[in-house]
């Protein structure tokens, strides 16, 4: 039934001339129209669901203000610093865990089971260790992205086919050559996937920390909009934030092109 259903559905779609693109456009229009009706009807307070036009203007105003770009730069710098610190520590940990069966069995379960826990609750500790400034936000992001990158690097290390290492040895490659020409390229897809996951949650960790306690960054702007109930501005900020996150994800995804073997 699964396949016949798909075939039937496709046939029906072809007969009535509905393509996936058209469905998407219809869905978007319905969504936006529903929003607009809700906004105009006044069922919910106007402030919570502002008309699309208002959000549009707020977006334009936001994107043309200098303060926005300054705060965006602060957040981007924090996220990149977090990724650099958490990522490099995570990578080295992963190489150690993946390279040694013993260390992997001894210590990897801790990282594996600590991975899916709420990291933001460490924020009070980070404030005490690294202060209320960007330091504690970077630390939050770094702690968040450490886990997926360490686990991916360990898995990538273990997935290297043994014969490729024997090829390198048979040509008498030095340790350095082995690392640069065999281990690193063989691990690249797994590590890039880890960085993609890590970047996503580094963004979340850093921004959540900013919304809790800060005086700069996108998270701070969101809380500022919240405190004066400027909902259109909040929507504009969330839209730009989502665009930023999805864009960053796509860029890393592009670098992680597969080195596949059929």
């Amino acid at each position: 039934m699964a396949s016949t259903d798909v075939v039937k559905g496709m046939a029906r779609a072809r007969r009535s001339g509905i393509s996936v693109m058209q469905v998407r456009i219809v869905l978007l229009v319905v969504l936006l129209a529903g929003w607009e009706i809700m906004a105009r009807s006044g069922l919910l307070y106007r402030d919570v669901v502002p008309p699309l036009e208002t959000i549009g203007w707020a977006l334009i105003k936001l994107l043309s203000s200098q303060a926005f770009y300054w705060n965006l730069a602060v957040t981007v710098a924090e996220v990149l610093a977090a990724l650099a610190i958490g990522g490099s520590i995570g990578f080295m940990t992963g190489v150690l865990l993946g390279g040694s069966r013993f260390f992997g069995r001894a210590l990897e379960p801790y990282i594996y089971y600590l991975g899916p826990t709420p990291k933001i609750i460490f924020f009070p500790i980070m404030i005490m260790w690294f202060g209320v400034g960007p330091g504690s936000k970077i630390a939050m992001g770094a702690v968040s992205c450490f886990f997926p990158i360490a686990l991916s690097a360990a898995a990538g290390m273990r997935q290297i086919e043994a014969v490729l290492i024997r090829v390198g040895r048979s040509f008498r490659a030095s340790q350095w050559q082995m690392a640069m020409k065999i281990y690193l390229p063989a691990m690249r897809p797994a590590v890039m996937n880890g960085i993609r996951l890590g970047l996503g949650i580094a963004i979340i960790g850093t921004l959540l920390a900013e919304t809790k306690l800060s005086n700069r960054g996108i998270g701070y702007l969101i809380m500022q909009a919240y405190s004066v109930f400027d909902m259109p501005r909040m929507y504009a900020l969330l839209i730009t934030l989502f665009a930023f996150a999805i864009g960053a994800n796509a860029i890393v995804g592009r670098f992680g092109g597969p080195a596949k073997r059929q």
Binding site: E161, S170, F171
Partner: protein, 278 residues
């Protein structure tokens, strides 16, 4: 073709042996006690010859391959190449592995350049040599493809070119065609014969396939099943240059029958033991 970079090939008759194995023994400790994988094996490889080692699965052929290639430490006896004892991967030995061993992230030409990069050969020279050997294995035009875009037989030819480019005195191959179907195997055998005759490449092939061994070899060493001892050496007196057509000749059939007679007993012993273990 005269000035191909093959001037390092040993002149026939200059040295009696390119490689010798003397009383090579390797024991493994397993849960059921020590296992003798290779038991006191000695043989010589003559310059320019094609020598095969044949034996049933599990007779320690691959262990022998790794010992000769210098990848397995702690064995008894010695492997000597040009009078030098092998104590690790030796520059005179080029290995081709049974498993898929091309680097999936490198193109064909970059795969073939790999050993030259390791040896710090300048880039222009690297590319020249790599192109020559890609041409030799019949892959011209595929230089910039990735292995995932090639068939299994083509990938194995890339691996052979990659090993030949380092110009080893001995080409050491471990069942390089094991993963391929019978037709591809025969055609690839032709290619290897042609290359070997062209380069006068001394070659040591490890295999469990009788037709392959008879088709390609000047001599065949037959190994026994556990412990892996040398059972017999068979000289193959088929005319050269050969092609895969040789498989239909009566002499070929006689050699196959003779070696199968030797192997049958070993193979059935192996089968019985592995069934008992189950």
């Amino acid at each position: 073709m005269n000035q191909t970079p093959q001037s390092t090939a040993p002149m026939a008759g200059q040295l009696p042996h390119v490689l010798s194995a003397d009383n090579v023994t390797k024991k493994f400790d397993t849960a059921e006690g020590p296992l003798v994988a290779v038991d006191n094996i000695s043989f010589d490889v003559r310059p320019g010859e094609f020598l095969s080692v044949i034996g049933p699965s599990g007779c320690g052929k691959s262990t022998l391959f790794n010992i000769i290639g210098g990848l397995t430490p702690d064995h008894d006896g010695t492997i000597t190449v040009d009078g030098e004892v092998v104590r690790g991967p030796h520059p005179s030995i080029g290995m081709v592995f049974q498993e898929e061993s091309t680097f999936p992230w490198r193109t064909v030409i970059d795969n073939v350049c790999f050993p030259l990069e390791i040896a710090n050969v300048p880039k222009a020279e690297r590319l020249d040599k790599a192109r020559h050997f890609i041409n030799l294995v019949g892959l011209s035009g595929f230089e910039n493809r990735h292995p995932s875009e090639l068939s299994g037989g083509m990938r194995q030819r890339v691996a052979i070119a990659r090993t030949l480019v380092s110009q080893p005195k001995i080409l050491l191959m471990d069942e390089p065609f094991a993963a391929l179907d019978e037709q591809t195997r025969l055609l690839l055998g032709d290619k290897v014969l042609q290359i070997q005759q062209e380069l006068k490449q001394t070659t040591l092939l490890i295999t469990h396939n009788i037709t392959e061994a008879v088709q390609l070899s000047d001599r065949i060493l037959v190994m026994t099943y556990r412990p892996g001892k040398l059972k017999r050496i068979v000289d193959i007196d088929l005319p050269r240059p050969r092609t895969s057509d040789v498989v239909s000749s009566p002499a070929f059939g006689a050699y196959v029958a003779k070696i199968w007679g030797d192997l049958r007993e070993e193979a059935s012993r192996g089968m019985a033991e592995s069934e008992r273990a189950r």
